[in-house]
Amino acid sequence: MGRVRLSRFNIASLAFGLAFLYLPIVILVIYSFNGSRLVTVWGGWSTRWYAEFFNDQAMLAAAWMSFRVALASATAATVIGTLAAVALARGGHFRGRTLFSGMLYAPLVMPEVITGLSLLLLFVALNAERGFWTVTIAHTTLTMCFVAVVVQSRLGALDRSLEEAAMDLGCTPLRAFVAVTLPLIAPAIAAGWMLAFTLSLDDLVIASFTTGPGSATLPIRIYSEVRLGVKPEINAICTLIIAAVTLLIIVASLASKLSNARADSAAPM
């Protein structure tokens, strides 16, 4: 590929675009090390708000709750979403396919308030105790369709004859799926899981409808704190979340590089 010379305009617009996206985050990170009690006044470098966070039992509990909900709902959504995608991409034109696909993708465009409210009504009607499980179920409902979209597009791009070749070589349809299709759509499934995980982690609306007293998620907790005035502690928490997400992305890309490298080297018999 030839090197593209950047014009002044290109550089300026790139800088502006990146600043627009990342400057607020950079400011947030810097201010998380602010020694002052006031968010907007710089009081010198300090890590006191990190210490404050690690001593804030309620905030820690909320973070732990969010993490567990994200883990459980992302995993459930990945399993269900992948199965739905397989049904849509490989099931042929079964009866009610259009209806199924429409219903599957409805949460994508449904206002979260409606999803949250209707789930709340359901849980109340079922007399279910609201807490970890109800939030997890609600988040699974929300994120499943995102997983299905990601996996279905990968399945659609995948050559059907690969599965047929596997069957031709002695695999049952299920076996062919596991031996050939699954490894090839694994990156999409992983991406779907990560998407679901982050969606669940930062959801405020649905979680606030479906959670119960004593089981607030991190976004709910932060939001209620912020209503009483922003403490620099919030900045510290957000910085930690950004760090965690960055780490997750780095690990994921390293893992995918590693698995490619492994396949490249001589596969032992």
């Binding site: 004859s161 047929e164 002695g170 049952t172 490894p183």
Partner: protein
């Protein structure tokens, strides 16, 4: 009769029975009949080609042989056993896919081993079979490459090795050479023939390329609209097409429509609309006087000259006067379009046998086109 005789008779019957028998197979997609009551026998060890334009049902037929489609009607007998509804993984049949369908996440070696492992072969056997297959397709050095690190020709060989690794009774090839360039395709065709002779495996190839079908196959089945138009050896297909459709599909042909005027044991006289009266060899099946027929004549069987053949040699030949209206020089051949004075347009190809042609023709030149009655094929219209 003694037991001994009974067994030899059974063995004889088995050797004569076709490996594959397709009986009145029909397959519909919605209202469209992809395969329409087709019957065909293929002998063990044969190299058979299914030739036809796209959409003629040849790929559907192949997919039914592999088990990816189930016939709506009819039977598919493999070694006397009906396999029409047997799933692909239970058939002693393997397929080489048009786009090769190599598993991109596996190495060449693992691709070839895929079926062997499923079949439950021991490690040592798998290893030996892989080595054998790699040697067979001459890819010994590339066992650890992945498909995306191979050229198109190499991928094609891996696909072939993978399909042959299980030693199928029947190998199906779906347009196996369509993705290769011309030169590579021709050399690969020769390799396929050699491989098939060496292994003795029955090959069924699907192709829309008549040169390919004629090069590789012992017999060709020409398909059109879900039916077999003709099943014959390449030469017979070209020189004795069963229908006008086959004559036009396989190779170039001049078709002259007319009616039968006279008939004797050796010659048939056909009055054509725009090429006057032709003397042609009578077809094998009887035709009635006054019946409408088409006369097919291949371009290379028409000779052109400035003055026409000498009287003795011309006895019994068809000769027509005309004007060269177009010509294209193709290297080995020159193709001429001749507008006959009687109205018809004939295409004639002449081999360029010498570097400097003494007897070539230019546009607008008056020529005599002549051809033997034995080179004319009479087809029902």
């Amino acid at each position: 009769m003694t037991d001994h005789h009974a067994t030899t008779d059974a063995a004889l019957a088995a050797s004569q029975a076709p490996l594959l028998r397709i009986e009145a197979v029909e397959k519909k997609f919605g209202g469209f009949k992809a395969v329409d009551g087709l019957s065909l026998d293929i002998k063990a060890g044969e190299f058979f080609a299914l030739l036809g334009p796209s959409g003629c049902g040849k790929t559907t037929l192949l997919r039914m042989l592999a088990g990816f489609e189930t016939p709506d009607r009819g039977r598919i007998l493999l070694d006397g056993e009906d396999v029409a509804s047997v799933l692909p993984h239970r058939r002693p049949v393997n397929m080489m896919f048009q786009n090769y369908a190599l598993f991109p996440h596996l190495t060449v070696k693992a691709n070839i081993a895929f079926g062997l492992k499923r079949a439950g072969l021991k490690r040592a056997e798998v290893k030996a079979r892989i080595a054998e297959m790699l040697a067979l397709v001459r890819l010994e050095g590339l066992a650890h490459r992945r498909p995306d690190q191979l050229s198109g020709g190499q991928q094609q060989r891996v696909a072939l090795a993978r399909a042959l690794a299980l030693r199928p009774k029947l190998l199906l090839l779906d347009e196996p050479l369509a993705a290769l360039d011309k030169k590579l395709r021709e050399s690969t065709q020769r390799e396929l023939i050699e491989l098939q002779r060496r292994l003795g495996t029955t090959f069924v190839i699907v192709t829309h390329d008549q040169d390919e079908a004629m090069t590789v196959a012992d017999r060709i089945g020409v398909m059109s609209a879900g039916r077999l138009e003709q099943v014959a050896a390449p030469r017979q297909l070209y020189e004795a097409p069963a229908s006008r459709w086959v004559a036009e599909f396989v190779g170039d042909v001049n078709i002259l429509d007319g009616t039968v005027a006279e008939q004797d044991p050796h010659r048939l006289t056909v009055t054509t609309q725009d090429a006057a009266t032709l003397s042609v060899a009578p077809p094998r099946q009887k035709v009635d006087i006054n019946s409408a027929v088409s006369v097919a004549i291949r371009p290379e069987k028409i000779r052109l000259s400035r003055r026409g053949p000498v009287a003795d040699a011309a006895a019994g030949l068809n000769r027509r006067d005309g004007v060269v209206s177009d010509l294209s020089y193709l290297g080995g051949l020159t193709s001429y379009t001749v507008k006959l004075d009687a109205g018809a347009t004939l295409r004639a190809t002449l081999a360029n046998v010498a570097r400097v042609e003494v007897d070539d023709f230019s546009r607008g030149q008056h020529v005599v086109a002549w051809f033997s009655p034995d080179d004319c094929v009479v087809l029902p219209r």
